[in-house]
Subunit: 202 residues, 2 copies
Amino acid sequence: MSENQLSTEKRILEAAKTVFHKKGFDGARMQEIADEAGINKALLHYYFRSKENLFDAVFSDAFTEFFRRLFSLISDTIPLDEKIRYICNDYITFMQQNPFIPVFILNGIQHNPEKVAALLQNSPNPPSAILKQVKIMMEAEGLHGIDHRQLIINIISLSVFPLVAKPLLKNILNLSEEEFSDFIEVRKRELPELILRSIHKE
Amino acid sequence: MSENQLSTEKRILEAAKTVFHKKGFDGARMQEIADEAGINKALLHYYFRSKENLFDAVFSDAFTEFFRRLFSLISDTIPLDEKIRYICNDYITFMQQNPFIPVFILNGIQHNPEKVAALLQNSPNPPSAILKQVKIMMEAEGLHGIDHRQLIINIISLSVFPLVAKPLLKNILNLSEEEFSDFIEVRKRELPELILRSIHKE
DNA sequence: GTCTATATGGCGATAGAC
DNA sequence: GTCTATCGCCATATAGAC
């Protein structure tokens, strides 16, 4: 087999990712995934026993990738304001490159809540650890203007939602693809300042 | 027919709303809608010719209801800061009462983008009018700290996203149903202040 | 491992009695 | 208007040849 051709399993996963991200579990068709991978439908069942299994593999990847971005809140030793700048930028850039992931994850929760809960709790960096660390950092820097959980939700809301709702916002704001990109670039600059203002007492 | 029983058409619409909101177009089953309405599957097709038609009716209602909430930005004559307080409260309360609507709308866009575009443009208060009005108000009050479009997106992001992602956030923050409600109540109080700080120059 | 062919079930939609 | 029965299709999944 030539090196420029991925293994069949990898190609299936890539194809499944493309289709599931765009159409979700209910909207996706095994036939479409097979076509996208350039193979036969029966081969999907040979590698992954069922549609559900294949979906799980794709969902786990997306979910892990999405939440890994919160780890920078805990891992580095840089000051909090720099972390906030970093996360806003990182999240927005990630969404720009993977526009379907947020809605895909949101729907995936409804499709299988227990699976999602398990993924969260079995993560190498569980949410509880991240929350605790942020609280400690804020106290160390004397920031009492806002609850640490509210802060985290604000960061995610302001970063993620505009790209979750991109198709709608483009229409509402009457922006071309390019103008929307510019609009998002402005947010990358301005969001951290807005957020930092909220954690400092006046 | 007794008065305590809604007309068949109304009952179908209510049932369709329940099922479509929760499962989306692809996940919904006509049989489930019929069961929920307490009638037969064939009757659905008698009143609404197809699943697509029934979905359209439900989607239009949800969409209109969702965007009506932005009208207070244009209609009343109260000052901008009061409008912001009003919208944050109104949006959050609405989401609490209709937890499935935001994700339902987000998915509906992917299901039929042209329909959504038409709904927006044919609205009695099209987005362009709202945008223009906000811009004028901000200039009148001498607020130049932020672009008016960015302001609107921030208000929506901070209000809507936490309830869009409620199942996920409950898990991440490890909150019970009641604790989550408290968490949202805090946001109702604090969000307007956070937003107002962003539109005033220091 | 990869294919063609087929089993099996469920879905939206319709026909037709009442 | 409302029902039962059924059509026709398409989806997931499997059998079995190569």
